[in-house]
């Protein structure tokens, strides 16, 4: 039973991993399973609309029920729900894009994204998983973990996303210390060349960082001449404090600073 669930999950992951449509044989080859096994699982998944069959090619792709589940995940997320208005006002105030992220193993998972309010074409990053050490949201959240948690993160994968990504554990550790000291994190083209992010942690009633909120945009606007835009940073920290207060964490948050 447990094995079937695992195998069904691996089918869904495979369909979500790049090639959007796969046939039974392709899936069986990729997962090292018998075709009959894959067929049985696929039929069950199809009945629940977790996958669907492309009428033209006969191949399978992810199904519409997954979108509903994804939305239900987001709707049920307390930090996301509480951040909607704060994020809007932060985007308006700073004229930049705003993202809210929560820790998810080695990544920061984007649960909310407000576009830069300039009518330009932008791509929705909700659902994106950014390596924690390459993101201001990730670093801001990690800095407020306990020693064991930080140790675990530093011992995990630290991929280099650009030439500026910090990948040395010792260097990251000292960066996290200054973030705790200053109450905010800065990212300078460590995930994407040309982009910077300023973020502050959101602290809940237990004093844990449940996530972070930040402003992301062109490096020349957020870090002009290499210096942090103080007005944007002040707005980010104010909003993060407001969100923390909503979650009942303001007193602890104040103690952390």
């Amino acid at each position: 039973m447990i094995q079937s669930v695992r195998r069904a999950a691996s089918i869904l992951r495979e369909l979500g991993a790049g090639q959007p449509r796969l046939g039974i044989t392709e899936l069986a080859d990729r997962l090292g399973l018998a075709k009959a096994t894959v067929y049985g699982l696929i039929r069950a998944l199809e009945e629940d609309e977790l996958v669907e069959r492309d009428a033209e090619t006969g191949k399978y792709r992810l199904g519409p029920a997954l979108l509903q589940l994804g939305n239900a995940f987001l709707d049920g997320h307390e930090l996301r729900a509480r951040s909607l208005l704060w994020a809007d006002s932060l985007a308006t105030r700073t004229s930049e894009a705003v993202r809210v992220g929560v820790p998810n193993r080695w990544n920061i998972l984007i649960v909310h994204h407000v576009f830069r309010p300039d009518n330009s074409v932008q791509i929705l990053e909700v659902g994106a998983a950014i390596p924690w050490h390459a993101s201001a949201l990730g670093k801001a959240t990690a800095a407020y973990r306990d020693e064991a948690g930080i140790g675990e993160l530093l011992a995990g994968p630290l991929p280099r996303l650009t030439g500026r990504t910090i990948v040395e554990p010792a260097e990251l550790r000292s960066a996290l210390e200054s973030i705790r000291h200053e109450g905010h994190a800065v990212e300078d083209q460590e995930a994407v060349i040309g982009e910077a992010e300023l973020a502050a942690p959101v602290i809940d009633h237990d004093g844990h960082a449940v996530g972070a909120i930040g402003v992301v945009g062109p490096v020349e606007r957020l870090l002009p001449d290499g210096k942090v835009r103080e007005d944007v940073l002040a707005a980010v920290k104010e909003v993060a404090r407001g969100l923390s207060r909503d979650l009942g964490g303001v007193r602890r948050f104040a103690n952390h600073r």
Partner: protein
């Protein structure tokens, strides 16, 4: 067709004229490629940047080739947003610096310049071939250029090989999943789309090839 021996500032100017023209013509296509996995601004940004760079060169076209390349690079860094400005701008600026004030250069020196550009791109982006970036077109193009020179090609032959190799590298990005840039953390969305950066790099080599053919004459 004569064999090209020495290249000067006029060659850089023609290369950039070809490039600015091609990028302008391909602007919508580049933007369309970028819309699948980026901010849909690659074509617009590159068009604006190369037009601005060319305008600067046309205003002061008489300097040594290295100075002209540095002017182009600096203008791109300042006027192109996103990752493209810093990457192309810094790479072309490094190419200019590598010339160190020389009044002319030859096909062998062009190889050194191209390598200096690639090195700069990799220093900034830490990308390898297969990461679905500019490097996927740039690396095979430089290798093909070198192979051309070693097997006795002149500038025209070697740059045309380089263009063909860039194009091949560009097409090879289609099935790949990006491992660098914004597309890398947007999950599987990048697979099935040609990389816009590898595409604009191919345009750069196409324009280089035509500038070389122009040098050689009819």
């Amino acid at each position: 067709m004569g064999r090209v021996t020495q290249l000067d500032g006029g060659f850089v100017l023609r290369w950039m004229r070809e490039m600015a023209g091609d990028i302008h013509d391909q602007r919508d296509f580049l933007t369309q490629l970028d819309a699948a996995i980026g901010d849909a601004d690659h074509g617009i940004n590159m068009d604006r940047g190369f037009a601005a760079a060319l305008a600067k060169l046309e205003a002061e076209p008489d300097g040594p080739p290295g100075d002209l390349l540095e002017t182009v690079g600096t203008t791109l860094v300042l006027s192109v947003g996103g990752a493209a400005g810093p990457l192309y701008g810094s790479a072309i600026r490094q190419m200019g610096r590598a010339l160190d004030g020389a009044k002319t250069f030859d096909a062998e020196t062009l190889l050194i310049l191209l390598r200096a550009g690639l090195e700069e791109v990799q220093r900034l982006g830490a990308a390898q071939v297969g990461d679905k970036t500019i490097v996927d077109a740039l690396t095979p193009a430089i290798e093909a250029y070198e192979r051309g020179l070693r097997s006795g090609d002149d500038l025209v032959g070697a740059t045309s090989r380089a263009h063909a190799a860039a194009e091949e590298g560009m097409r090879a990005t289609i099935p790949l999943q990006a491992r660098k840039g914004r597309a890398s953390y947007l999950g599987a969305r990048s697979a099935g789309h040609q990389d816009p950066g590898a595409t604009s790099t191919t345009i750069l080599f196409d324009s280089l090839q035509r500038a070389a053919a122009w040098e050689a004459g009819p």
